[in-house]
């Protein structure tokens, strides 16, 4: 249940941003959640709701975009989707690959009033 710690970190950042932008309430926040991060979206939503209840963030929508895992081969240079968490190149079988997306756990945008 690391979603509680992650939700707390998220709320800390949102709070800072709200102060910085003189915002009174939070309408929504957009997140990018990579497939590699072991986040259960429902659990994160649930923890977020608990933490923000009674604050100026209560009722805000948590919009989560799930990001697929993609990699590029450092040998044959072809990009590919990493399926079933197989971290090697499906074209040339090389283990030398670089993950280019899907490790994200980030905030991209918030809507405030």
């Amino acid at each position: 249940m690391h979603e509680m710690s992650i939700a707390q970190s998220l709320v800390d950042i949102l709070q800072e941003e709200m102060v910085r932008n003189n915002a009174n309430s939070l309408k929504s926040v957009k997140l990018r959640i990579g497939k590699l991060s072991a986040i259960v979206p429902e659990a994160l939503s649930f923890c977020f709701e608990i933490i923000v209840s009674g604050t100026d963030m209560e009722g805000a929508d948590l919009i989560m975009e799930m990001i697929p895992l993609r990699g590029v081969c450092l040998d044959c240079e072809q990009p590919f989707e990493i399926e079933d968490f197989a971290f090697s190149c499906p074209h040339c079988s090389s283990p030398n690959i670089k993950t280019i997306s899907g490790e994200d756990l980030s905030i991209v945008e918030m809507e405030v009033e």
Binding site: M1, S9, I13, A38, L105, S106, I107, E111
Partner: protein
């Protein structure tokens, strides 16, 4: 009003972990984050490792548990510095909890600090503590389907220690399947097959760990 905020949600923890790492580097100290599910043998492996290496390298241990100080008491009996962290419910250690223990150690006198994380195959993989590398234990009684079920843990760990191989005749699990599945997720993983009960395979682990500490010391 829409505000664009591009920020890693775990940046606060990552920042503290980075500060911890800098302090470890200044003290020429190798730090291993040891993870596994509960009961896989983290503390048993540590006891064996300390016994075998304490003449050659100076070790310290941070024990992470939700509750109780039983693990720290086991390590303290071996006469090396140990600090118990009780997370009081949290399922993993984070950078901040590790930083809070620094007053308890003479970091400069240590060669290797082992952080024994809370027993859990999910959450500890997500939170850096400032380690040089992550090592994980999988015991054969847990089954060879675990890499496929907990890919992040296997992806993040550079070392996999397969424990309890003495029990292989009694379980539906093969070391070949664990190896195959783990290497699919992390082709660069270093793998050891051991039994903390019989001592099988431990010499190779001790040698590797000793070498790792020496190499890192030289590199700094």
């Amino acid at each position: 009003m829409k505000i664009s905020v591009v920020k890693n949600i775990l940046e606060a923890n990552d920042r503290i972990a980075q500060q911890n790492r800098s302090l470890f580097d200044e003290n020429n100290l190798t730090v291993m984050n040891l993870m596994s599910s509960p009961g896989a043998g983290k503390t048993s492996l540590l006891e064996r490792t300390i016994q075998a290496l304490k003449e050659d390298i100076s070790l310290g241990v941070i024990e992470g548990d939700i509750q109780s100080s039983q693990d720290a008491e086991r390590i303290a009996r071996m006469d090396i510095p140990v600090v118990q962290i009780n997370t009081g419910g949290a399922c993993h250690l984070d950078g901040n909890m590790i930083r809070d223990t620094f007053g308890e150690f003479d970091l400069a006198s240590l060669d290797l600090l082992v952080v024994e994380n809370v027993g859990n195959l999910v959450c500890p993989a997500e939170f850096k503590v400032g380690e040089d590398f992550k090592a994980m234990i999988l015991s054969v009684t847990e089954g060879d389907d675990k890499p496929a079920k907990y890919p992040l843990m296997f992806h993040e760990s550079s070392v996999l220690i397969i424990n309890k191989i003495d029990l292989l005749p009694y379980v539906e699990c093969t070391v070949e399947k664990i190896r195959e599945e783990a290497l699919k997720i992390n082709p660069h993983m270093t793998i050891f097959e051991i039994s903390c009960k019989t001592g099988d395979g431990l010499d190779a682990w001790y040698e590797w760990l000793k070498q790792e500490v020496r190499t890192r010391k030289k590199a700094r």
